[in-house]
Structure formats: C-alpha cells, structure tokens
C-alpha cells in the first residue's frame, strides 16, 4: 500500500501541493486528473523522491520513503516521465538495461538475469523487435515504449506514469494500458497522471481530482467524472454517458451555457 500522508510541497515560495492525503492499494491503478498546474506532476515527483515534501510523508508498506536509501527507493518505484532525454546513441536495449541500475552492484555489470528481465520487459511492451536499433532512430511513440520497458525492468513495486501514453497511437496506447492493468492485477501499484479522461475512466480503479495543489475528491471514476466535479475541477461543461461495452463514464465536452 502506498500512503501519502498530508503532503505539502513547494517550489521556492510557490506552494504546489497542499495537504494531500491519498492511498493507493496494492493491485490498484490510481489515476491523477486535474487541469494544468493542478499538482499532478509535483505529486509524482514527491512519490519518486525528486521533490522533497515540506510536510507529510510517503509510506510504502509502512516504510517511510524518506528513510529509504536512493537505490532501495529506485528498486521500489519506477517512473515513466512525460518528456525525457534518452541519448540517441544508445540502443533501445541498452536504454532498457538502464532500468537494472538500482539492482546492480556498485561496479555494475549486468548478469544473465538482468538481460532476461530487460528482455521480458521489451517483449511485453512490443519493443524487443528494435532492441538493437539506436534510440535516435525510433519514433516518439517507440521511445515512449522503451521508457516503459525500462521502468518494468526496474521490477518496481510502484509504477508512476506521468502522461506516459500521451504520445502513443491508439493501438499501442491500448496495448500499454492493458499491460499496465495486467501488472496491477498481479500486485503492482500504479499511479498515473492522465489528461485523457476517457482513458482514465476506462482504466483507473479510482481517480483523484486535483486542482491548485489541493485534492478535491478521490473515488471511483463514476463518482468523480460527473458534471459537477468536472465543473469544479476543470471549469468545463460536460455530458457524461456510458461506455457502450464497459459502462464506464464517457465524457463529451459541450459549449459553455449550452444546457443552462
């Protein structure tokens, strides 16, 4: 269980997170939604340890993450960033092997097991076919899948996805989210920042709606993706219907004042 206890954080004097309390259970996909600047990415950074909270603590199975050393933390939590610098001269395989970093001994030499895990991660993300190609030759979506493979190669307990599939085409977006769900069902904790609310509705078990660094509501998608919460979260008017097959909420935006 990943537990955020009264997290506040700021960049300099600007407060970006205000007293956030959230829990993500084992095997659950927790979606973070909210407008730009709501604090989704900052919350991700607090969980991953790159932004230190001013108050509060993040606990993973009762262990305070601030007390974990960096490597242990990197073995527990993997991040798939929204934008990232992947040096062009590495091959996709080498980039995925970077995910083994926190598992390797000090003068890290990858062993057969590390190669095997990286290979599994690539097979699962449909990236193995270009393992030997240079990152610089890959398309944006292919690169993104390499990053996801790298995160899986970390064998994390918690997977943080920061708009991780925003640049993917529909087929790979669906494939990655099916995979993420499958991993979650096997016990992985997934926290994902999402702009695409329909995607959020379809895949997240619960959604946390953030705005201005505050948590407005955290509940099942059907209870969060309502006209009222969307207005309070995003200042938009929306019609909510149901997915024809899964019955999850589907959002259609409408012009302001249309139904008033």
């Amino acid at each position: 269980m990943l537990k955020l206890e009264h997290i506040s954080a700021s960049y300099g004097k600007r407060a970006v997170l205000k007293n956030i309390a959230l829990t993500a259970r084992d095997g659950e996909i927790l979606g973070l939604i909210g407008p730009n600047g709501a604090g989704k990415s900052s919350l991700m950074r607090v969980i991953s340890g790159t932004l230190a909270p001013t108050t509060g603590a993040v606990r993973l199975a009762e262990t305070d993450l601030a007390r974990m050393d960096r490597r242990a933390r990197a073995r527990a939590i993997a991040v798939v960033p929204q934008h990232s610098n992947l040096p062009d001269a590495f091959t996709a395989g080498e980039a995925v092997l970077m995910g083994r970093t926190p598992h390797l001994a000090f003068f890290g030499v990858e062993r057969a097991r590390d190669f095997q895990i990286a290979q599994d991660a690539m097979l699962r993300t449909d990236t193995f076919q270009f393992a030997e190609r240079f990152v610089g030759e890959l398309s944006g979506g292919e690169r993104q899948r390499v990053l996801i493979a790298r995160a899986l190669a970390q064998e994390p307990r918690v997977l943080l996805l920061d708009e991780a599939t925003a640049h993917l085409d529909l087929k790979h977006q669906t494939a990655i989210w099916d995979l993420v769900r499958q991993l979650a069902r096997a016990g992985l904790i997934v926290v994902a920042a999402l702009h695409d609310l329909n995607l959020a509705a379809q895949y997240a078990d619960r959604l946390a709606l953030l705005r201005g660094g505050e948590l407005l509501i955290c509940d099942q998608p059907a209870r969060v993706l309502t006209r009222e919460w969307l207005r309070r979260g995003y200042d938009v008017s929306a019609l909510i219907s149901a997915h024809p097959l899964y019955q999850t909420p589907m959002i259609a935006l409408i012009e302001e004042g249309e139904l008033e």
């Binding site: 199975a61 991040v79 991993l183």
Partner: protein, 363 residues
C-alpha cells in the same frame, strides 16, 4: 521490506548475455587498440636521430626482464632507457589522460565540446604547474617533479570550480555558457601564467618549450611523478563508468534510477581533473586530443563509458605518440612543439564537430 515482483520470472540458465545485448559494438576494438598502442610505442622508442630497429628495440627492452645475450652497443641502451623511454611514456600518459578526462567531462556535462582545454581546466592546471615551477626552482629531482602535477591539480580544481559556478544557469549548465566560461577563465589563467613566466626568465628555454607543448625536458622523474595522478584518477573514473552512463539520461532520471547524482558528479569531476593535471603538468598546451579521440571512440564502441574510457585512454596514448613522432621527425634534427601538430589535426575536426552539432547526436 518484501518487494513482490510483479513480473513473472522465466527460468534462466544461460550464463551469457543474449544476442540482442551483445549489441556492444566493436568487441574487438579494445584488443586491437592495445596492440596498436604497443606497436606505436616500440616504433616511437626506436625512431629518432639514432635509429634503433623495432626488433632490436624489443630485444633491448626484454633484456631488462629476461636473460638475453647482449650484442648491441651500450649507447643504444642509454638512448633507449634514459632519453626515449621516459619521453614516450610521458607522452603516452599525457595523451591517455587528455582523451579520457575529455570523455568524462563530455559525459558529465552532457556536452560534446567539453575538452579539458575548452572548459579551461587545462589552462588552470597549467597555471598551477607554472606557480609550482616558480616556487620549486631550487628543488630538482623527483620531489621537485612531484610539485608540478600537485600544483597542476590544485590549479585545475580551482578552475573547474570557478567555471562551474560561472556557467551554471539555475540547475542547468547550458553548453554555450560552459564553453564561454571555460574559454574566458582559460585565457585569464594563461595570461596569469605568462605573467609569472616573465619572472622566470633564467629558465627561458624550458619555459618556452613548456608553453608550446614540448617534451625535450622529459625525464624519468617527470614520468614517475605523473603516474600516480593518472592511475588514481583514471581508476576512479572507470569505477564510476556506469553511473556516468546513467547521468547521460538527465539528472532527474538518474536520481529515479537510484544514482546519487551530486556525489557522482563531484567524484568524477575531481577524478577527471586529477587526470587532466597529470597530462598538463609537464606538457604545456596540447589541444584537441580530448576532443578528437573521444568522438572517434564513440563512433567505434558507442556511448558506454565502460568501454569508452579504456578505449579513449589507449587512443589518446597512440594518437599523441604518433603526433610526437611526427613532431620530432618532420624537421629533424629540430623539433616541432607537439601542440602545433595536434592543432593542425584538431582544429579542422573541431570545426567539423561544431557544424555537426546542430543536427546530430553525440550521446
């Protein structure tokens, strides 16, 4: 804490890396480079005003280790051991040091132009060495020789700290500000050094040779004095080769992969600076080695520092020994300063890199 693994693990008996991971480009490059360096070294030792054939060179060298009947003139031995060998050794170390420290700086700053000279470190080391030279005129021998790399190390470390502070914009070090700060501080250090040298006019020849990058002053004392600086610095860089790879991603990702970014940067900068100091202590200005060799090596084996660092050390040693061979044969019996030779090779290459930098990736 129990870390359940969400990935089902397959059984795995294969102890070797799978085919896709042997991507490791150019497996044979490092052994070949080692062989090349040995060949160049033997030629370098043999060629000069008195020519000693390669086979005879090998025999004379081996005679120091195993019993071989002596059938050569004693002067050959003197030339070989007292004149040529220390010089070639010092040059090999200098080349290896410039190239490997350049590699580390480039990786660390994620800047393909970060050569020890362009970022000012070498000029700072030079200034440190000059100050040490000014202070130690009365102490010849190994003790005096050790003062030079020590002074160079202190000078280089101070320079790198200043350049780093000047080039930093917020949390980042943009490529251009690093080079601009490096060049500016480099000029300042060079000017200061020249000013001090004016006061050392009684050593004018030695000083001139030093400034232009020459090795006619090479001695065993000098070669032995720089070895510990190079060996320790290089070992530390090599130990940190994999963290250095991860740093190529960017600092946030490196942190998320469990790297203590600030610690790695601090240690590698100090190690690379130590290595630079070993190169510059006795050599004066020999530009571009730290630029040409790392990039050529990257083309051969890719960006992995675990292969890159040894290969650049070998390549730097080989390159500079060849340049030196050229420098002392081309207008024999006179010698060209080594820095002139490397500049002729390096300047065009640097311009090529600058033009390429716009649309191509180095890392």
């Amino acid at each position: 804490m129990e870390m359940a693994n969400p990935l089902p693990r397959r059984k795995n008996q294969d102890a070797r890396a799978p085919a896709w991971a042997t991507l490791v480009r150019g497996r044979a490059v490092i052994p070949l480079a080692t062989l090349g360096v040995i060949v160049i070294a033997i030629l370098s030792i043999g060629i000069g005003s008195v020519f000693i054939p390669p086979l005879l060179t090998i025999k004379i060298l081996l005679a120091r280790v195993i019993a071989i009947p002596v059938d050569w003139a004693a002067t050959f031995e003197t030339i070989l051991f007292d004149i040529r060998l220390p010089r070639v050794l010092l040059i090999a170390i200098t080349g290896a040091a410039l190239a490997s420290s350049g590699t580390a700086y480039q990786g660390l700053f994620r800047n393909p132009l970060a050569d020890p000279y362009l970022i000012g470190v070498a000029a700072g080391a030079n200034l440190g060495a000059i100050i040490a030279m000014a202070l130690q005129v009365a102490y010849p021998g190994l003790l005096g020789a050790l003062a030079l790399p020590m002074g160079a190390f202190i000078g280089a470390l101070a320079t790198v700290a200043i350049v780093y502070a000047l080039a930093r914009v917020g949390n980042r070090i943009p490529q251009t500000t690093l080079i601009l700060a490096g060049v500016a501080i480099g000029y300042l250090a060079t000017a200061l050094g020249s000013f001090i040298l004016l006061g050392l006019s009684q050593h004018v020849m030695r000083v001139l040779v030093f400034l232009l990058g020459g090795y006619s002053v090479a001695s065993w004392d000098a070669a032995i004095a720089v070895i510990p600086f190079f060996v320790i610095g290089f070992a530390v860089m090599f130990i940190y080769a994999r963290p250095l790879n991860v740093l190529l991603l960017d600092e946030e990702q490196a942190q998320q992969l469990g790297i203590d970014v600030e610690k790695v940067k601090r240690i590698v900068v100090i190690a690379a600076t130590m290595v630079t100091a070993s190169a510059v202590a006795f050599s004066g200005l020999i530009g571009f080695v730290g630029l040409i060799v790392p990039h050529a090596a990257r083309l051969l084996v890719g960006p992995d520092h675990r292969r890159l660092l040894p290969l650049t050390a070998l390549g730097g040693a080989g390159f500079l020994m060849l340049a030196d061979l050229l420098a002392r044969t081309i207008i024999a019996p006179q010698e060209l300063p080594l820095g002139i030779v490397t500049a002729f090779a390096g300047a065009p290459f640097f311009l090529y890199l600058l033009r390429r930098a716009k649309n191509a990736a180095f890392f």
